[in-house]
């Protein structure tokens, strides 16, 4: 086993994923172009973002062909960020309410 063996896959899959990434990016841009608002906008943004991120990591970065030990090592720790995101949301809300009380919305 030498390191030069590496990841060897047919070219077709790269072109397919490449095309998909282009299409998904176009869709993301369309969300803004057509001025979708509110929950629909946020939902579409998140969906296209996660799909693109997943395709890049899985195929372009070869994660789907790596051994599970490496996959877990890289994918599991970032899940903690969801907790951080929750804390950030609580904090942001709290600061906003405090500012509304003390500045009445007009700083």
């Amino acid at each position: 086993m030498t390191s030069s063996e590496g990841q060897q896959h047919p070219l077709g899959i790269y072109f397919k994923i490449w095309t998909l990434l282009f299409v998904l990016s176009a869709f993301s841009y369309m969300v803004d172009y057509f001025q979708f608002e509110g929950y629909l906008r946020w939902f579409l943004i998140i969906v296209f973002m996660m799909l693109k991120a997943g395709l890049i990591v899985a195929v372009f970065m070869h994660m789907m062909w790596e051994r599970m030990a490496l996959v877990y090592t890289i994918i599991v720790p970032p899940l903690l960020l969801l907790v951080f995101l929750g804390i950030g949301t609580l904090e942001g809300d709290h600061v906003f309410l405090t500012r509304m009380i003390f500045f009445g919305g007009a700083e």
């Binding site: 086993m1 030498t2 390191s3 030069s4 590496g6 990841q7 060897q8 896959h9 070219l11 790269y14 994923i17 490449w18 990434l21 282009f22 990016s25 993301s28 841009y29 969300v31 803004d32 172009y33 001025q35 906008r41 946020w42 943004i45 998140i46 296209f48 973002m49 991120a53 890049i56 990591v57 195929v59 372009f60 970065m61 790596e66 051994r67 599970m68 030990a69 490496l70 877990y72 090592t73 890289i74 720790p77 970032p78 960020l81 951080f84 995101l85 950030g88 949301t89 904090e91 942001g92 809300d93 709290h94 600061v95 906003f96 500012r99 509304m100 500045f103 919305g105 007009a106 700083e107």
Partner: protein
């Protein structure tokens, strides 16, 4: 561990699935089978970089939620006027496509590297580097437009919440720095390939270790990560 024990271990079949995770992690010294150490180290670095960028984006989220002054509309701020037509977010869309194109050429470069196709690998790496440089150039244009024409500063701007500038320069600046470093290394790697360093497995000038086409894949991991970060910045900063 004795030599015979090592030999016995090398010959043992590797388990798959969850038992494989446990066996790999508990196997002392070499947890990551069939993965060159350089690639593992790049992944660990990218994991730490993930946390850095996530901290920026979560900080951006709390700042945007907590301001009582309306946030400037990114769709308007980054719009371009093309022949009298007002196109929202056009420059950012083009930058996104440039970066995705470069990600594609990078993926192909990795593939042709493992096929030991020296010239095709070189041209693909060069194309990736030039697309990356184009991205940085467009970002420089965007910064200039915002600073000079729109009067955006890290402490305030005419469009709304003063935190907008601070977050914008911090996040895109950090990402742009990553792209710039990537472009430099892509040029270095492209010329290493062109000179046949990988084919002859010459020792690297800094590490003294044998160079091979696996290095292109490690370079590729970094470059795809830069694209990955842009996907998140594009979604939560520009589109939100």
């Amino acid at each position: 561990m004795t030599q015979s024990a090592q030999a016995a271990m090398a010959g043992a079949p590797l388990l798959d699935g969850t038992p494989g995770v446990i066996a790999d992690w508990s196997s002392d010294q070499s947890a990551f089978k069939k993965t060159p150490w350089g690639k593992v180290m790049m992944w660990i670095f990218l994991l730490s970089d993930t946390f850095i960028f996530s901290c920026f984006l979560i900080a951006y989220g709390t700042v945007r939620m907590s301001t009582t002054i309306p946030w400037p509309n990114p769709s308007e701020v980054f719009a371009l006027n093309i022949g009298g037509n007002h196109v929202p977010l056009l420059l950012i869309a083009i930058m996104t496509f440039v970066l995705i194109t470069s990600s594609g050429t990078m993926a192909l470069a990795v593939n042709f590297g493992y096929r030991k196709n020296r010239m095709v690998t070189f041209w693909l790496l060069l194309a990736t580097a030039l697309l990356g440089a184009t991205f940085v150039g467009m970002q420089a244009f965007e910064w200039t437009k915002l600073i000079v024409d729109e009067g955006v500063r890290p402490w305030g701007n005419p469009m709304g919440a003063p935190q907008f500038g601070a977050i914008f320069f911090m996040v895109t600046g950090f990402h742009g720095t990553h792209v710039s470093i990537g472009v430099i290394f892509l040029f270095i790697m492209a010329f290493k390939v062109l000179r046949g360093k990988m084919d002859r497995e010459e020792p690297g000038f800094m590490t003294g270790r044998k160079q091979d086409y696996g290095m292109i894949e490690i370079m590729g991991l970094y470059w795809h990560f830069v694209d990955l970060v842009w996907v998140f910045i594009f979604a939560v900063f520009y589109l939100w």
